[in-house]
Symmetry: C2
Subunit: 338 residues, 2 copies
Amino acid sequence: MAGVRLQDVAEHAGVSMKTVSNVVHEHPHVSHAMRERVQKAIDELGYRPNALGRRLATGRTGLLALAFADVRLPYFSELANLVSRAAAQTSPGYRLLLEETEGTLEGERAVLSASEAGLVDGMLFQPSQISSREIAERHGDLPMVLLGEGPAPLSMDRVMIDNVSAAAAATRHLVALGRRRIAFLGHEAQALSSTSRLRIVGYQEGLEQSGLSADPALLIASDEITPAASAASLGAAIDAGLKIDGIVCRDDLAAMGALRALHERGIRIPDDIAIVGWDNISFTATTFPSITSIAPDLDALARVALEMLGERIAGFDGLGRHRLVDYELIARESAPPA
Amino acid sequence: MAGVRLQDVAEHAGVSMKTVSNVVHEHPHVSHAMRERVQKAIDELGYRPNALGRRLATGRTGLLALAFADVRLPYFSELANLVSRAAAQTSPGYRLLLEETEGTLEGERAVLSASEAGLVDGMLFQPSQISSREIAERHGDLPMVLLGEGPAPLSMDRVMIDNVSAAAAATRHLVALGRRRIAFLGHEAQALSSTSRLRIVGYQEGLEQSGLSADPALLIASDEITPAASAASLGAAIDAGLKIDGIVCRDDLAAMGALRALHERGIRIPDDIAIVGWDNISFTATTFPSITSIAPDLDALARVALEMLGERIAGFDGLGRHRLVDYELIARESAPPA
DNA sequence: CCCGAAACTTCTAGCGCTGTAAGTTCGACG
DNA sequence: CGTCGAACTTACAGCGCTAGAAGTTTCGGG
């Protein structure tokens, strides 16, 4: 079955290559008899079109790169799943090439300047370290849409949720539950990411909208963006005497860390301390207690991103469009509905 | 910068295409002066070799497909991460095309008979529903290595851990902690997967090695392979009066569900019931309590699988080789060291 | 019964790159 | 000073497929 070429089919059916190609592509203007004859030859030989030849001829590879820090982070694996489904359903369908940057500058640079051109038709990229200038310079002519609230040059498309507004909503939710000393947990101790920065801005905004004032002592950074690191830093803060009754977490991983740190100390959730996470990863529903979380509309994110990328691939060359998609606060046990 | 071709560089430098190609590939027998001259032209034009042309000419795409049920399952996202790193480091380096089957028969069939040939050089596939006969028939001539304990025809390579022995070890670990009524949690209620079947066999073996006998009443199935479903079925069993003091879980997701179900009922872990999970996904370290888990040697799995796939790609055509890789029981709070 | 248009099919030129075979250029040697 | 081989470089034929031009056949109408 291997190595059957268009030409072989053509010879077997006694027609030209173009006719076979027409049949394969269901072009009109092919007589019924001819279609059957060719199809028979295709079946007999077990012909499968070679992707490479076709792609070289059409200039379209049908491949999209999806680049982000690490597929092991649930947020990204959920994103990959959605994008991969959505990409398969667009017409023409796309398949996904997975690229991990490890969230490092070198990784992000490598993804942008993979030395070969033409392998993928476009790229969805969630940057975090690299500067927007460097993104603009390096991406060359590859159609690209940026995801998330990281760096993004004005010249390029980007989709994200309104982090400030969402963080404010999360904070107000805690206030509505009667909480007054609300901490923020899980941002980087150094080199604050734009994600953390925006969420902290929104946290402060939420406090102020509620007539509370922000206290820098309530910002609890973590050494890493992991549950373990957040558990450690929150635990240390509490052991040092910090009194709080609510926590807005940078993400669900931090929230899971918080759960652990509080459980260990016999602090009740949400009775003593209520918690809001972020990303609504699947585990938030089954931890104990389950975690209230900001749920970005990932479906919309994937859809909008692919739509814009499709336009770029089709040749759209206008200024960067920055789109916001919705989010929703899913109230669960860690901070129940007011 | 777009669309600069080899030929353009050749003209710009005033040499032939082949010479430029030689420079790009660092072939010997290119004079130093020539090399510099060509390199200068490459830099000036911002030339990037087109992947497609090269691939068509060499017949090698540099792409590997990684196919499994769902990247949102932590086991698979961790696998994807490892395989992707390992694949990039082999020489020649490979990149990963992500294919999700949703764990359905249709999905698995679709992955095997993607109608275009030649897009990827090989495939790593973790099947679950499809029959081994169908795998053998459909995979055509695409080099392939199967992952996991699912169906696998003798004619094809496969890598897995010894599920029976690992399940027995997990069970014995609980026995060593003094547990006598040990349940198995999280297998399919109907259509038992080979994964579940092997683990249940090992669970029974572990009991019998310890002089205990297996009791069918202690097999607690779930409607789905999710924490929520396992929590529900374990909770129902306990509410119905089931008395147990240990649980071997089909996987860590089931273990997380168990944590939830037991917490809700005020049952202490591990004091009242000790728990062992499976897969050692990252969250097992930060749940409360943390989860003792069977840790397959994923590094070795990825390495061995890629090695065999590399041999298949290179033309090896022998009988299927079935390899086992190691596992380890990582004792954490849910079932501490004896 | 011939002509032109419609309906199909074949021809052919690439898409961008590589590898082999066929030059070309030089320096060294007889 | 002609010759040979090493060291380089060029020419060219594909890899498998697509698409537009060009050719062939078929038919209805005059």
